[in-house]
Structure formats: C-alpha cells, structure tokens
Symmetry: C2
Amino acid sequence: MEKTKIVFLPDGKSTEIDSEINLLEAAKKVGIRLESLCGGKGTCGKCRIIVESGAEKLNPITKEELNLTKTGKFSQDLLDRGYRLACMAKLEKDKTAAGGQVVITVPLESRLGAQKILVEGLEKKVPLNPLVNKYFVELPQPTLSDAGPDLERVLNSLKRIKNFDDLEAGHGVLSQLPEVLRKGNWKCTVTIWNDRKIISVEPGDTSSRKYGLAVDIGTTTVVGYLIDLNNGELVSVGSLLNPQIPYGEDVITRITYCMQNPDGLERINRVIINGLNEIIEEACSKANVKREEIYEITIVGNTAMHHLFLKLNPKFLALSPFTPVLRRGIDLKANELGLKTNPEANVHVLPVIASFVGADTVGVILSTDIYREPELTLATDIGTNGEIMLGNQESIEVCSAAAGPAFEGAHLAHGMRGEPGAIEKVSIDPETLDVEYSTIDNLPPKGICGSGIVDAIAQMFMAGVVLRNGNINPEIKSPRVRRNKNMLEFVLAWENETEKGIGDIVVNQRDVREIQLAKAAIYSGAKILMERRNVREGDIKRVYLAGAFGTYIDKLSAKVIGLYPDIPLDKVKSVGNAAGMGAKQALISKEKRLDAEEIAKKTKYLELTIAPEFKDEFISAMYFPHAKIDRFPSLRKMCEKLPGWSETLK
Amino acid sequence: MEKTKIVFLPDGKSTEIDSEINLLEAAKKVGIRLESLCGGKGTCGKCRIIVESGAEKLNPITKEELNLTKTGKFSQDLLDRGYRLACMAKLEKDKTAAGGQVVITVPLESRLGAQKILVEGLEKKVPLNPLVNKYFVELPQPTLSDAGPDLERVLNSLKRIKNFDDLEAGHGVLSQLPEVLRKGNWKCTVTIWNDRKIISVEPGDTSSRKYGLAVDIGTTTVVGYLIDLNNGELVSVGSLLNPQIPYGEDVITRITYCMQNPDGLERINRVIINGLNEIIEEACSKANVKREEIYEITIVGNTAMHHLFLKLNPKFLALSPFTPVLRRGIDLKANELGLKTNPEANVHVLPVIASFVGADTVGVILSTDIYREPELTLATDIGTNGEIMLGNQESIEVCSAAAGPAFEGAHLAHGMRGEPGAIEKVSIDPETLDVEYSTIDNLPPKGICGSGIVDAIAQMFMAGVVLRNGNINPEIKSPRVRRNKNMLEFVLAWENETEKGIGDIVVNQRDVREIQLAKAAIYSGAKILMERRNVREGDIKRVYLAGAFGTYIDKLSAKVIGLYPDIPLDKVKSVGNAAGMGAKQALISKEKRLDAEEIAKKTKYLELTIAPEFKDEFISAMYFPHAKIDRFPSLRKMCEKLPGWSETLK
Ligand code: FES
Ligand code: FES
C-alpha cells in the first residue's frame, strides 16, 4: 500500500503513514507532542491542527468533530479555516488518494509543553542595525617627534574608516586606554555606541564578540535575552521571579512601600539591580560570554517597574492624576546603575506611554508592527496588569484594565503560577461532568494556573455548571458541585488524583467572580477603544494575545468567557513575550528604537475610569460571554441551548 | 599755597599735596603702600611709579635716579617710558606749576603685599556667555485628562522660551523632579547646560543664584575661584597646598608613586578630589553660597595634574616618547568625580597640548589673548615647571623647560615658599655690600622665596659678589662672603635679624648653580622658539610673566640674571595667575571654551631635548646674563664695569 508523506510545520519534520494511524499518532512519531486530554476520543477538542494542503487526501470531517462544535470546544469557524482535530483526521482509505503529501501546521496552543520553547514568541524580522559597532584599527606607534596623545591617535585612525562627527570617550575607556594600546601592540578594537561614543577599546581584534541584553522586567517575572549583535540571534536566556515580590505582589503595594519607608525606593531598586545581575550572570555563563562583552542593554517594563528600575519616585504614578516622571526613552551608563556588564555599556530604557501603560506596551506595539500595518489590530498584553491596544499606522489608542492578578492564578482558591503541577487545560463532559485535565510537566495537580482557570470556567459554563451571570448552578446534582462553608464550588480534581497534601482542587464561586471582574475589564477596554474609533468586530483584521498568559490560554475558551470581542479565531494569534521582543528589536535596530519613541509619543492613552460609558460596559461584560449575546454571534447557538440561559440575564 | 591733586591708578584714589611731601608719602596718605626697601633714600629702586600725565608739574629726574640706572636697579629705558622713583618725585617748587593734577599709575611689582590682591591677575574682559543658564517657568498643573509626565511638562514650557533641540535630563534631576514640581506649586527654575542638558530643577524662582568654580591645580598650590555666573565676577577664593605633595614634591615623583603602588593612582586622585572639596567648602562659606548652587566647574593644570585629577594612568607621561592619554577638553559629571557641588554640575577639564605642556598653558594663552593678537608675544609661566610660549594669531609654539622647583625656593640652602617671613626683595649696596631686604608680612626673615632669590642673585651679580660664570667671587673681602664646609656663601641676613632658630640666611654657591640651570633652561627655550620662527628681540611686542613667581619677581632683576631675552622692561608685564584666569574665562564664555580647543589643537609643541641647538644654547645661557653679551645690549654698559667681567667667560 502506497504511503503518504505528512509534513509538520513550522517544525519541518515529516513522516510517511498509511490510513491505519491518525495524525495525532503521526505527530508523535516525529516527536511532536500534541495536547490530547481525552486521549484521542475526539471529545476534548485540544488536539487542533491546521491542514495547509492535501486536505483531499484526508477523511471527511467526522461526527465527533461536528459534535464538538456544538459544545463550544471546537467551532465551525475553525473547521472553515482548515482546522481539524488531529486524533480524528487520518488518510482516506481510498487508494487513489494515496501518495503525495499533506502539509499540517501545528499551532502553538495545541503543543504540549509549549511554554518551554516560547521565550521568543512571534517576531517580525527586522534588519540588523545595532547602535553598537566594533572597529578594528592599527595605529602608528608614537615617537618623540609624533608624541600625540593616545586618544587622538585612535580617533585619527577611526577617521580613516568612517567620518565620525565628534566621538566622546567615556572615562572608563580613557582610564584603560594607555595599557590597552600598548598591550595590543597598537592594534585594537574600538566599540562605538550610536556613532557618538567610544564605550570600549580592547587589545587586538575582538570584533567577532559583540553582545547585547534585552530585558523585560515584569511585575512577576524578569527575563533577559542575550543577543549576538553580530547576527541578531538569541544566544541564551536568563530569568527569575521579580525579587521585588517580597515588597508587594502588585505594583501598588510596592509603590506604597516606597512611600512609607525612607529608604524604600533605594532598597527596592537595589533588589532589581541585583536580580538583573543574576540574570546577566546566568545568560553569560550559559553562552560562554564574558560580562564585559555585553555593550548595550535595552529594558522594557510597565511604568512602575520602569520607575523602580531607574530609582525614580513612583509616588505620583499611584496618586490621581497619575503622572509619570518622564515618558521618553532614556540612556544611562551600566556602571552608574550598578549593572555588571561592560561598565561603559549603554542602558536604554524604552519610553512609556502613561502611568498605567509602560515601556512593555511600547515593546508589544513595536515588535508586532501594529503601528506600521494599514489594517486594524486589537492587542492585549495580560500580565499582572492588562493593557489593551487598538490601532494601525494612522493611530493607536491604548487603555489599561485592572485585570488584577487573577489570570496569573493569584487570589483563587487553588490558584498558582504556571509551574509544574499546575492544571493548564481542562475539559468537562457536559453529560457526565467528568473532568479531563492536563498539568504542566504531567505531574499530579497542585493547583490551577491562569490558562487552566480560563479553560475550566469556559468548560463549566458550556457544561451548564456556571450560569450566564456567573453563578454556579445550585440545581446540578453531581458530587462535583457542592457547598463548602456556604459557598458553592466545583471539584476539578479529587484528592486521590492530586499531589499529596493538596486535597480536592476546586473552582469556587469567588473564583468565578474574580475571573468575571478581570475579563469584564479587558473586554470593556477593548470595546470602548473600538467604539471611540467607531469600528466593529469585522473591521479588526487581527487580534494579538501577548504575554505568557496570552500564549498559553485556549483562544476558544477565552472567547467563550468573553475575554475579547467576537472575532474569528483564525485572526487571533498568540504573540508570546511581545514586550521582550520589543526590547530585543530596539537592541538590534536603530530604526526600531526611533520608532519606539514615536510610538510612545503618538499613542493615545484613554483613562477608562473617566470614560462615561465604562460603568455600563463593565456591568454587561460581567456576563458569560456578555449580557448582549448579539455581540457574540458565533457563540449564540451554543449559548442558547444552555440551561437557564434566558432566565439568568438580570 | 595752592595745592595739586595727585590721582593714583588703577585704584582711582587721589589726594592734594604741596611740594613738601614726595609721591611715596602721598601714596601712603591714600592707603597705597609701595615697596621702599631703602626707606626713601633713592637707593633700592623698588618704589617705581609711572607718570601718566602732569609730569611737567614734578621736579626733574634726580641725581639719585640717574645713579641707580648705572647699577641696574633702575634703567634709562624705564625713565624714558615715564617711570620715576616715588620717593624722589615731588611737586616742583615753582608756584606757577601748582594746581591741576598729576596722574600716576602704581605698577603691581611696586606694591607692598601685592600677593594678597593678586588672585586674579591681568585679565582681558570677555563678554559674559556662560554655558549654564537658568530659566524660570510656570507649568500647567496636571489633570486626569492631561496627565502627561513631569519631564515632558517641563520641556513643553521650556519650548515656549527657546527652541531647545533635544534636552537631556540627568538622572539626579529626574529623581528629584516630582517632588520639586509639587513643592514649587508647578513653578520652577530649570538650569540648562550648553543648551543641551538639564542639570537642575529647583522649586520657585532661583534664577538670581548661579555660580561656577574655576580651578587651577598647580603642582604646589591649588586655587578655586568662585564666580557669579550672572555677572562674571569673582565672589570668593578657596586655596590650599596641593595635598598630593606628601606623594612627591614634583610631578615625576608622584607619577612614580602611581606606577609603584597598585592603588597609588586611586589614592593620589582621592586626595586631590578631597582637596577640591575643601576649596569648594571654603569658597562657598566665604561667599554664603550653597554647594548646590555651583553648576559648573572648569579645571586647568599641567598634564600630570590633569591626569591625576581624571584618574588617568600617568605612566606614559613620564616615559619616552611621553604621550598623554588625551588632548582635548573633557566634560564629566561632578558626582562621578566625587566633587561636592550640584551633583549634576558639569566639570570641564580644559585640553592639554602635550605631556609637558598642559591645560594650564592653554589657560595662559587663552586669558592673555596671545592667540588673537597680530603682534608677537613671548610668555612664560614658571611654577614647579616652566613653560615658554611664543606666538600670535597666526601660530603659537610652546616648549617646556625643566626649570625645576628652584624658583619656588625648593632645594636652596634657605629656600622656602612665598609665605610670611620669606625674603622677597633684596637690595645690595655695591660699595659696602650692605643688604636691605623686605619679607612677606614684614616678619623677621625665615628664608628666601623665589622672587627673593632672583633679586638676591641679580644684586649679588651687580655688586660683583657673583661673577659672570656664576662663581661667588672668592676675592671679596667682606664678612658676608665666607667659606662654609668648603663652599662659598653670601650672608643675606644675620642671625640677630632672623626668626629665632634660623641663624644666618645665606645664598651659597650651590644655590647660584640651581638658579643658573633653571634660568638657562627658560632662556634657551625662549631663544630657540625665536630662532625657529626667525624673529629677534625687536619683533616681540610684549613679554608676559605668568604665575605667582612671574608676578612677584622684579622684572629688572629677572632680566639681569638673563631669565628672558633683552626686551625693554615696559613691554614686560606680570599677568598674575593667567592659567587660572583661563579657567575662569572658559567658565564664563562659551566662545572662550571653544577657543581653548583650537589653541590646544593648533599650538605646536617643541621637544627641547631633541632640538640639536639646545645643548649649545643652554651652556651659553648659564652665564649672567648670557655668554654672548651682545644679546643683552641694554645691560652691556653696566656689565662691562663689573670686576673680572672679561676674564670669567670661559
Ligand atoms: S485528543 Fe483530539 S479531541 Fe481530545
Ligand atoms: S624707596 Fe625709592 S628708591 Fe628706595
């Protein structure tokens, strides 16, 4: 029997199969692991793949796949865009279809353990043009009749290479210069920043060693990307939990700490600087790069992280009318800040937009090219705070939503960060209320992370466990729905399944309310931006979900709970750590760095709390998916079948 | 009897006198104290004044004045230019001459205690145009709908005043900004450096308080001039002995210390920084100025002081081929250097010319306008080292002479610095060898300072005590000329006249040799510069003597020993601390600061030690005034009368 080749993108791996095995198994053969909560029964809807070509060689859409579209775990929309469930798709038995090839894309959200490879995220290629350049020069040796100074000797030789205007030389450079020139026997490599400043002179030819670090300081996690500035490529990553967490889980607590303690700012600044030095150490030792070979650092972070990093008084970020100290990008010397790279390395902190919309948002807009596209993009970056952007090359508006840390698993009965043992995918059988779930690293469950809670609540809603208004349905007769200390809760995992000592893992009524508040804030922000601009869902050409949460959530579940407007799923893309990628682009491209200034200057910030329509929007958005179901036409049919649908609106 | 008014310049004081009293007494009446070693007998020649107008109302030149021109203590040349001795000049008794006024200039060198008022020295006025400017602005208060950042708020208001290009703001400014703006109720004063950098924002209107510090770091003394940048005027002075002296009296010893001790440079840098902080403290407290009100500092010093101040490796300054680390001026932040002014104050270190010709020489050329005059100027700045400049607006050449510290009184049997109790003026009666001297502050003598030794040796030469070849004349029969441990010496002051414990103060044969070596080096440098340029004494329109030594020496005595070529005395001017005045001009004038860069770039350095003619020149210049007396035609007549003149040439 002739076999057919299956090619998996973007991995580029392929295998030949016959009609006996399905695409889930085929993927496994080549080492691509897909989510498959139901074990291939076609009931969880997690093993989605996209058929790029050769669809005619596959079996027709199965009954299981069609059924799932009714439960909201899969959708007609996705089917129309070429999505299938890998466990249901196989080669057509008809021999005439055999041979040739079928090309499959495996989307990020269907991959098991995707978080491990997701440090970079979606990134538009930018031409390499870093601000840091190295030049190797050979100098004439001084003599009694040519005893000109060392620096002028270097400058004269550089002039022969390029017509630099007026190069400054940092003090650290000058203090090494005499020994360096003589050690290299008058051959040396000069590192110049921005055609303006000599930041290093090294003996001999070191031009092949030139590194930079792009840093994303999140409220919760801090990541540093070590980049080879000779080719723009990532060479290693260092990361840690933000060491400021002991001073407050959230931004406001940390600012309050600074306000209430005389040396609070000093202390909170020192811990992040020390943390960055650990990251530098980690990234450098992984890649066998010397600290001194890092010549530039770019930094993004929300405005509070930005101020704390720069040791700027954050007090007025938190007091109405919420003014930051400065907007524009700023350049400082690494050793002034206490960063242990090349002491003269430039540290460029990207600009911010407003008190609640920081350099991280600038980074998202920068790296996703929203500001250059003619079509409209809606983007959200949901971390400890949520920012929502809407715009195109004409203009961009942005607002901030107090999404709170719920999506990071905080403040939930069994919430936890996205660490090993966290439930990250959930599927609930609407008939039996049986629960299938997967955990990070497939460990016994310890709790629920952000993507898990979105999945869980969407599934609870679709199974009728949670009503449209967010109430847990008290009429359901199931051991999983129970009352605990006068509060209803739903059991996701029984004690015997969970990590020892954890007991039953539940989603309780308060958890649902937390998520309702958070998602309503995000949705309202998006919707108000749309209305201010007078655009509808159909005008939006793409939705970008940035940040770790945006990467790992199930896009369909997110839509079911009403996190973002009803836009076809194929237009919705996870873009990974887009903020960090913005820092990287600003590191490797002078043009992108200038673009970032423009973005910060031109992006309009909308203060949601003073928008008159905000209150009404917010209340309507508390419902699943929304009080006005006509705003979610793609979910209407599924929703209208749910128990108590019409009674629970008010 | 009708009286006549006498006006003294530049003081502008006047008094009416009759013919009974002389001009020395008249000066005393108005509080101007003149040197008068001989007590008004017309024999010391120190009380010189210049008659600017009304000479016809005075008595004719006296016998005493004419006699003195023969001894070299006064000269026909000076008489021709209107000089008189104040103690000899009085109103003509003829009544018809009475009434009207006589205008007199009192030259610096004739003033008693001139050093006390001589911190400024001669200074050409420069238009005030400091790099530091203050702007008072009133900002719109932020609101929820205008919550723009603090910095951008300031920048927008500044834009209405002046079209600044792209203002940077130092970190220290940003860290204070939120509190400052709110404290001043959104009225503030912004200090901007060089139209480029915001260095301070202060609440309210502080524009009337704007200071700068001009510093001259000498090998031996360090002086700081506190300048009001709103009018360019000196408000106070701080000074101290260079605290690096314990690491070496001279430059080479200090450099050696840096080379031999791992933390030598660090240590030697720290002491000068600490010293400058003392000077800042002193100058500020004298003038009731706050440290933070100093917004800029300019620094001059020789190249070694320059390197040690900047903590730059000085090693190669002292090793052939003698290369400095850099030439051009450099700007640093006060707090980076550890200087306790406004932390963001700019510190501008003026450029240097070569390893042995530093920013102090640039300062001399700058403040004396040598580089702008069409006529040729010869200038020397004799401190611990000696620099010689020759040039005009076309070009300037400069060389350095190892004058050694002899002129600062070091290495002499009874040498001392120009401190109270130092013999600074000497007169020797050629008949009796009686010595008259004056000391600083008129205290009993403790030793001889630089100007005292020049005077003493010139007088010893003119009295026949020292021969043309520098030998002390062994044939003189006088208790003052005696042999001590096999070395001839001349007693200037007897034990009973001197400070207790000092004993006799003498000038011995070794002292004379030291001075011979030093003056020969200076003269040879000047002469070689002249010959390289193919100019003669007559082509030189002025001679400037810079530095404390140049200020206090008797110009005629200096010529008699042959320190500089035979140029008429009225063309020779003391210009005080011209290096320090260069620092001051660079502080108050943007144009002057740019000029300094041009001077450093264009001034040609001549390395005397590799000039083939140097050795011969040097040997001839060892004689008093010179082996070739035709080079000193104005001294010929006087010299040829001296005992043993013709025998002692070889
Ligand atoms: S594995 Fe395919 S639907 Fe569950
Ligand atoms: S005081 Fe006039 S010559 Fe001495």
